[in-house]
């Protein structure tokens, strides 16, 4: 009896690169995006031309919004996202396996292979991460002097806003995108994500959002910081429209990614992969996805109101006409607080996933860890007003939010407990991923403890709006998520790309990044407590030396990130040393596959025997059975899309 046909890639003859160039890919997307922008801009200008304020301000917000919407449509059209719906509407059978042929062009178009999408995400996230990091270097350069010098105040605000917004947008997808898309199917024993085309859509929306945000420079920048507070946002120049559109695109992408991950984990788990055996990384992503799905729509609503205020002069946020700036504050932070947990939870997932492998011990307290993650996710919806303690919110509510915010440190502490327990009597190896995971605990501890300061209302009065807050969230987001992401990159990139990353460069990267990160951000707690507000170019001269020190450390930190780039280029492009299939001796499912992972992931869907943390048990059975007996003997229909 023939084994069930293995779904292979479409074996059409490989197209020439010229034909690929003319197909639906990113080049066409760029052209159509520009064209769409122009066309819709003209339409928008025609619609808005009766508004007097458009001519007086020399900016046409209606045309800009229409233009950006047109750019989005053109972009998606050019990538081929409308092909499947259109051909279905026209009654033609359409392939569900578009873009899966081999070849480098897969990476520049809509590809439904989740591994390809993950690599595309990786490149996009790294690209925008470095751009935002470059912004940070300029910011620190300007802050080395206590008055505005080489960057003027207006441009400085745009730099700050771009740095913040780009980092937050990209890091929200920073783990969900590259690592989530790659690993979730592999870790649960599936051949694909639940919605492959949507997966590709989220990637290309994220890339577009990044470029739209950068486009703000050409429209005058925007002065509000990533928080986009109204009514300053109503007053801003056309660059604000780019912020609104790009953040909305990311909001849409977040919802879609979340839905995709939740559905995949719920429905596509291999037989034997019970909820108890799910890797903790997947649990981290599931909780993140729940947050993303529930919180991002609120952001989209708030952004839409801001867009209306700027175009048709509605008054959502203008008090003299009946609106209130508090509306924006609350809507934004209702999203904003779960957003920072969308950033933190994948970090927890990565670290708790890596720790057992390098400590050679099972994850200690698996169920408690999952409970902790859910606790964080649930509580994160109940704390958002702590960003507004001194804003004149109802004073009766402040004790409640102080309480819930303090409470959230309990589930977060559980993560630390699990880490502690996993390390107890371990046999640690200090490879680069382990170094990053250990440093995560160091950094997040400082970040978390300073969060307790901010959760306490009287202490919040000292530090709100100052560099103390800045240092706190950089410690939690950068010291937490980005360090964990780096650990995840060093850990999983050999599997994803098939090439080894240089260990020495990795260690250099780790140590320089760790040392300079702490040297940069720890003094900023002091700067904040000594009276330096956020987002300023001029500060008290007594803080000058402190800022110069921090700026120098920040430049060194930027240089350490370049080491990562050097490592990537060296290992993946120049040296190209093939990686073994399981260099870390992990028992997790994805490491039992060959490297590079075949297009169809699993030759046969495995049956899972145990959780992936079975260390320390001699003669333990393998984590999965890759050649299980067939469930139902007999002819099996060939899957759609054709087989060999």
């Amino acid at each position: 009896m023939e084994a069930a046909s293995i779904p292979t890639a479409v074996t059409a003859p490989p197209s020439t690169w010229r034909r690929q160039l003319l197909g639906f890919n990113v080049v066409l997307a760029v052209l159509l995006a520009v064209g769409g922008y122009a066309l819709f801009h003209v339409i928008g200008a025609a619609i808005g031309k009766k508004a007097l304020f458009m001519t007086e301000t020399d900016q046409d917000d209606i045309a800009t919004f229409f233009g950006l919407i047109g750019a989005t449509l053109g972009w998606l059209l050019g990538l081929g996202f409308f092909n499947y719906p259109v051909s279905r509407i026209l009654g033609r059978p359409a392939s569900l396996r578009e873009g899966e042929e081999y070849g480098a062009w897969r990476y520049f178009r809509l590809c439904t292979d989740h591994k390809v999408v993950a690599i595309q995400y990786f490149v996009a996230v790294i690209f925008f991460f470095f751009i935002a990091g470059l912004n940070a270097m300029f910011i620190r350069g300007e802050l080395a002097s206590d008055n505005s010098t080489f960057i003027q105040s207006g441009n400085y605000l745009t730099l700050v806003s771009l740095h913040g917004t780009m980092m937050l947008m990209m890091m929200s997808a920073g783990v969900l995108g590259p690592l989530g898309n790659y690993l979730v199917p592999l870790m649960i024993g599936s051949r694909r994500m639940a919605f492959p085309r949507v997966e590709s859509l989220t990637l290309w929306l994220t890339v577009l959002a990044g470029f739209v945000l950068l486009g703000a420079i050409f429209l005058g920048g925007f002065p509000t910081g990533w928080t986009g507070y109204a009514p300053l946002s109503d007053q801003a120049r056309a660059g604000m429209d780019c912020y609104i559109v790009s953040f909305s695109l990311i909001g849409i992408a977040l919802v879609l990614v979340g839905l995709n991950i939740i559905t995949t984990v719920m429905t596509l788990r291999a037989p034997g992969m019970t909820w108890n055996r799910l890797p903790i990384f997947v649990w981290g992503l599931v909780t993140t996805s729940i947050l993303a799905v529930l919180a991002a729509p609120v952001l989209a609503a708030a952004l839409y109101m801001a867009a209306l205020d700027r175009t048709v002069t509605s008054s959502f946020f203008v008090p003299s006409a009946g609106g209130s700036p508090f509306l924006w504050d609350n809507l934004f932070w209702f999203f904003g607080h779960p957003e920072v947990y969308i950033l933190a939870l994948p970090g927890f997932g990565i670290v708790l996933e890596i720790l057992p492998v390098f400590a050679r011990k099972p994850l200690w307290g698996y169920r408690v860890a999952v409970a902790g993650m859910f606790g964080v996710a649930l509580l994160s919806f109940m704390v958002w007003q702590h960003h507004l303690f001194v804003s004149g919110m109802n004073a009766n509510l402040r004790p409640f939010y102080m309480f819930t915010t303090e409470l959230i440190s309990i589930p977060t502490g559980i993560i630390f407990l699990i880490g502690i327990g996993t390390l107890w009597r371990a046999r640690m190896r200090f490879s680069v991923p382990m170094l990053f995971s250990l440093s995560f605990f160091f950094n997040f501890l400082i970040g978390g403890l300073t969060g307790v300061y901010l959760s306490d209302v009287p202490s919040n009065t000292t530090s709100h709006g100052s560099y103390f807050v800045m240092a706190h969230f950089h410690y939690t987001i950068m010291g937490g998520l980005v360090f964990a992401l780096m650990g995840g990159i060093y850990y999983w990139l050999p599997k994803m790309t098939g090439f080894k990353l240089n260990e020495t460069l990795g260690k250099i990267h780790f140590w320089t990044m760790f040392v300079f990160f702490n040297l940069t951000f720890f003094p900023l707690f002091a700067a904040g407590l000594l009276g330096m507000p956020r987002r300023v170019t001029s500060y008290d001269p007594s803080l000058h030396n402190l800022n110069v020190f921090v700026s120098v450390a920040a430049f060194c930190l930027g240089a350490s990130m370049l080491v990562l780039l050097v490592n990537l280029v060296w290992s993946l492009w120049l040296r190209r040393e093939p990686a073994e299939s399981n260099p870390w001796q992990s028992k997790s499912l994805e490491w039992q596959l060959p490297t590079p992972v075949p297009a169809y992931n699993f030759e046969r869907i495995p049956v899972i025997n145990s959780a992936p943390y079975g260390y320390g048990v001699p003669d333990a059975p393998p984590v999965a059975d890759f050649g299980p007996p067939l469930v139902r003997p007999g002819p099996v229909a060939a899957p759609e899309g054709g087989a060999a």
Partner: protein, 207 residues
């Protein structure tokens, strides 16, 4: 190849930012006093933002430059002559209708010394908050003929003349701005040119 394109994009982005700053104009020094000649107009009339309200300054050669960064000597009396070609908008906070921080505590407006202007008549202000200097600038009457629509404006068009003096402190950079919400079309009149250096706000570089 793709990498090269991306890197080029980044470099362009960098260059765009760092080069965005208007050039400075120096005050003309004579007998130990520095003199600055400025004008304000309702609309600039040229790219990039022809409808934006703006200041212009006269440089040492008598040409009008579109900049709001002025170089002044330290510890010197600076006399300012300002030709105001815009109509009145009114002050958001009438407090700023008081002349503050000038020599003698008054400004000479159309030849007469004034200490407090009617707030509804204010078209712009020249204020340096760090030095406590603030001078309201009255607008051209609304029924005036021959108003200026594009800079630089000539003295034959309807205008008001304001003269005042103030002492510069030690070296440093001090910001100055207009406090009348004159950026028409923006919320609270405070967007656009009011928030852009080179138009309604700028810096005094005291050396």
């Amino acid at each position: 190849m793709v990498l090269a394109v991306l890197i080029a994009a980044v470099v362009f982005y960098v260059a765009d930012f760092l080069t965005a700053a208007p050039a400075a104009v120096s005050a003309v020094t004579q007998n130990g006093t520095a003199h600055l000649t400025l004008q304000t107009m309702a609309s600039y009339g040229h790219a990039p933002d022809p409808d934006w309200v703006t200041y212009m300054a006269q440089d040492q050669n008598g040409n009008w430059q579109h900049t709001t960064i002025y170089k002044l000597p330290a510890h010197t009396l600076v006399t300012v002559t300002l030709y105001q070609f815009d109509s009145a908008t009114g002050l958001r906070n009438p407090f700023l209708a008081q002349v503050r921080g000038t020599q003698g505590g008054f400004a000479v407006i159309n030849g007469k010394p004034v200490t407090v202007l009617n707030p509804d008549l204010a078209s712009h202000t020249f204020s340096v908050p760090d030095l406590g200097v603030s001078v309201p600038l009255p607008g051209v009457p609304s029924n005036a003929k021959n108003t200026c629509t594009a800079g630089p404006c000539s003295l034959s068009m309807a205008h008001t003349t304001i003269q005042f003096g103030f002492m510069t402190p030690g070296p440093g950079t001090y910001r100055w701005q207009c406090f009348v919400p004159c950026a028409v079309g923006f919320y609270f009149g405070n967007g656009g040119p009011m928030q852009t250096i080179g138009w309604m706000s700028g810096e005094l570089e005291v050396t």
